[in-house]
């Protein structure tokens, strides 16, 4: 007998009211928090892989509480590394470094963390709410975007180079082009051709974006501390701002949070985009639309923290829409979650929506509750974590290098990655020194692979006729308008304006 969605939602909540389920949720939240606070490499895929053989022997709801509790919190608590040390967080929190770290250096680490946790919590709730609303009609959302439409969206994303280049458009283009070039390293999926591999098995899969981002931002930050001989908050600036100021910032910028959360949900829903683009798309959207962003973004504008963090946390809701309602995994973590559901006898997809709606709502409730707990945990921890920024450079520099090397090594467990992270770190140091914007290079790297894939698929499936598809035309017009407006604003701003992401004083 089928039950109404309201009854299913109520039943889903009631099913959670068991001590063991709530306890498992708290354990999951603790694991997720530890994962976020520990060195970058302990990612959620590893945690899921370790937990899976254990939890599939439990009752489904208890196991689900543990898994979802862990994964939903890890994103909320991921901002402390970029804010305090200038090291990009895991996938989805990398763009936070652009404004988070300058805030930390200005003595506003607590405010940045407060804004990040609050925006993350709000994003998580918006993502969860969207999941609830999507349950009756998820399929059309996912079928809406074909390869041609996705290519135009990626092209739109690439136009953000204009924003990320600040006052140095030529250097921005060079950096972005280098990023696009790096994205071509490895075996080309469409033709099987090896590009820039030089017979090295290491290069067959290309170079990991995580490693390059870690190197480009992390190593120059650590070198900066070593060379200035000061801790992050020992810069000649007074400590100011509290966690509560950050909370107020996020509440005041609620409309930005909502917009970026929808960016996050959308990235989560569309198969194949993933967490590597979510923070950059949200950051670019904020940089293009926020008032005064040209002057302040990249120099420690709290909106540059709020945008990526809200999008990253909302993405989990989007991920679950595709995972639960269509049975399509959106990455390693959701693929492992599907394995767990299969082991418990549930088949994610339309059948599960029909047969087990109360379980889907239980997952929704767990996601929402874990988001709230995660935000609170973030607040409690951040007071203590922020003190790390006051440590002397003699303590911090070796620890930072250790974090960076461990983070790089943990991506593939390959010693060659250590050499690569150091090499790109040196490159990042000189890029910053000579004013080449590193975010533009990361953007080229992140979008290059996706753009090539979508363009190839569009050409093979439709020839040039894909250019005439109505949705493509609309998106192209919007992208062009946005690019022209950005460029015009930049030209009007002249020398005085522009995001200074390539300079020493910002975006470290």
């Amino acid at each position: 007998m089928e039950i109404s969605l309201f009854d299913a939602a109520a039943q889903g909540l009631m099913n959670l009211m068991q001590f063991k389920v709530l306890f498992a949720l708290l354990v999951g939240v603790s694991i997720g928090t530890f994962t976020a606070v520990a060195p970058q490499g302990i990612g959620m895929p590893l945690v899921y892989a370790m937990l899976l053989p254990v939890v599939i022997k439990w009752e489904p709801l208890t196991g689900i509480a543990l898994l979802i509790g862990a994964s939903s919190v890890s994103a909320i608590c991921a901002a402390y590394l970029p804010v305090l040390f200038g090291i990009p967080g895991g996938g989805g929190s990398q763009a936070t470094v652009l404004d988070g770290y300058p805030m930390g250096k200005r003595g506003e680490a607590r405010r940045a963390l407060g804004a990040s946790f609050m925006a993350g919590g709000m994003g998580c709730l918006i993502g969860t709410l969207t999941l609830v609303l999507a349950i009756p009609a998820a399929r059309p959302l996912i079928y809406l975007m074909g390869s041609p439409e996705l290519f135009v969206v990626m092209l739109w994303g690439l136009s953000m180079v204009a924003v990320l280049s600040g006052r140095r458009p030529v250097k921005g283009l060079i950096a972005a082009a280098f990023g696009l070039l790096l994205a071509t390293v490895g075996q080309q999926a469409q033709s099987g051709v090896m590009r820039f591999v030089f017979d090295q098995p290491y290069l067959l899969d290309g170079i990991s974006i995580s490693i390059i981002a870690l190197a480009l931002f992390g190593i120059p930050s650590a070198l900066d501390l070593a060379l200035t001989r000061l801790g992050v908050e020992q810069q000649p600036a007074p400590l100011k701002g509290s966690l509560f100021d950050g909370v107020k910032d996020s509440l005041r910028e609620w409309w930005l949070v909502v917009r970026c959360s929808f960016v996050g949900v959308w990235v989560g829903i569309v198969p194949g985009l993933g967490s590597q683009v979510v923070d950059w798309l949200a950051y670019g959207h904020a940089a293009q639309t926020c008032k005064g962003a040209r002057e302040s973004f990249g120099k420690g504008d709290v909106r540059g923290v709020i945008a990526p963090e809200s999008a990253n946390d909302a993405k989990d809701g989007g991920d679950l829409i595709t995972t639960l309602l269509l049975g399509f995994p959106q990455g390693v973590v959701t693929a492992l979650f599907i394995v767990a559901l299969l082991a418990w006898g549930f088949l994610p997809g339309p059948e599960m929506v029909k047969k087990n709606p109360e379980l889907i709502y239980s997952i929704v409730w767990i996601q929402g509750i874990a988001g709230i707990i995660g935000t609170l945990v973030g607040f409690v921890l951040s007071g203590q974590l922020a003190k790390l920024a006051e440590l002397r450079y003699t303590f911090m520099v070796p620890i930072l290098f250790l974090f960076i090397l461990m983070g790089a090594f943990s991506v593939n467990r390959d010693p060659v990655d250590l050499f690569v992270v150091v090499s790109f770190g040196i490159l990042g140091y000189f890029m910053r020194r000579f004013g080449y914007p590193r975010p533009a290079m990361i953007l080229g790297l992140v979008l290059g692979d996706l753009m090539e894939k979508y363009l190839y698929r569009s050409m093979m499936a439709y020839g040039f006729s894909w250019l005439l598809r109505p949705a493509v035309v609309v998106l192209l017009v919007l992208a062009m308008a946005s690019f022209v407006l950005t460029l015009r604003g930049r030209l009007k701003g002249g020398e005085g304006g522009g995001v200074s992401l390539g300079r020493r004083d910002g975006g470290s």
């Binding site: 892989a49 599939i56 996912i142 079928y143 074909g146 390869s147 075996q187 999926a189 469409q190 033709s191 099987g192 051709v193 090896m194 591999v197 017979d199 098995p201 290491y202 067959l204 899969d205 198969p271 194949g272 269509l326 049975g327 399509f328 995994p329 394995v339 299969l342 082991a343 088949l347 997809g349 339309p350 059948e351 593939n412 467990r413 390959d414 894939k453 979508y454 190839y456 698929r457 093979m460 499936a461 439709y462």
Partner: protein, 293 residues
């Protein structure tokens, strides 16, 4: 497996990503001490990558020691979207430029799809690649591609409504090993029925062998016979253990169809090695146009 090895040693697993398993096999072949203490478990590309001379292969698959594989039965079905109006073999052969979706050049779904298209005599089929598995389903559903091949069990699990609602038309099946009927698709033509020559049948045999080795457990060459025997017996006992079979079903959703070392060795030995067959296979599996028949 632990309880079937004397002394019940603790087993640790280490994940080694890279180059579709080539890196892990290279490591087992070149770097690991042949003392039976390190066992590799790699994907089915182990044999095909070596036979086809893929870049990065630094091992001789004939010298590796095989312990067996938990899964050796596969069924691939070729399907078209009903809205594409390609419901019969005549319609398929009559249409030019049928768009067939797959993951990437070299992926098993791509290779099997190309072989179906070649043997069924499709006219200038276009292969649209760059998707993940579920993305190919989406592309098929929204008409971005007209056809795809997929594992029969995956189709039943992921899109049962496609069969119930008549969203797709099924045309043929490939059974691995030959003759292993799938209970739900036994009525479909086996792809070998479309082969016109001994050469084409050998190419099919080669592909079946590549798939049949599944995800084998391997030891480096030179491992002492005693250790090999202990591990081969332990694997055989594990595969026959009802606890293993139920756990396998629970984790993968599939029934285990083990391949023991003797059968695996036989399958590898019987693999066609003639240069002519390898070259034809490479052309079919490659990125260029399909070769003339």
């Amino acid at each position: 497996m632990k309880k079937h090895i004397p002394g019940e040693p603790t087993l640790l697993s280490e994940y080694m990503p890279g180059a579709g398993g080539i890196k892990a096999v290279n490591h087992i072949y070149k770097n690991v001490r042949p003392d039976g203490l390190t066992v590799g478990n790699v994907g089915g590309g182990l044999v095909s990558n070596a036979v086809l001379g893929e870049a990065g292969v630094l091992y001789d698959f004939n010298k590796l020691i095989y312990l067996g594989s938990p899964h050796s039965h596969y069924h691939w079905v070729f399907m078209t979207r009903r809205e594409s109006a390609l419901g019969s073999l005549e319609a398929l052969r009559g249409a030019s430029g049928v768009r067939i979706g797959a993951q990437s050049v070299g992926h098993s779904v791509y290779i099997v799809g190309r072989l179906f298209a070649y043997l069924m005599g499709l006219k200038e089929p276009k292969f649209v690649v760059g998707y993940s598995g579920p993305e190919v389903d989406l592309a098929l559903a929204r008409g971005e591609v007209d056809a795809r091949i997929n594992n029969a069990d995956t189709l039943l699990k992921r899109n049962p409504e496609w069969l119930a609602k008549g969203v797709i038309d099924l045309h043929a099946i490939m059974e691995v090993p030959k003759g292993a009927k799938h209970p739900d698709f036994a009525r479909l033509s086996e792809v070998e029925e479309f082969a016109r020559s001994e050469k084409e049948r050998k190419v099919l045999t080669m592909l079946r062998a590549f798939r049949q080795v599944g995800s084998p457990y391997i030891l480096p060459p030179g491992t002492p016979k005693e250790q090999v025997n202990i591990l081969q017996q332990a694997i055989a006992k594990t595969f026959n253990d009802p606890g293993f079979r139920s756990e396998y079903k629970k984790l993968t959703g599939d029934d285990a169809t083990p391949l023991l070392p003797d059968e695996m060795d036989r399958s590898i030995k019987e693999l066609p090695r003639e240069r002519e067959i390898v070259e034809l296979f490479k052309k079919i599996a490659g990125a260029g146009p399909l070769p003339p028949r």
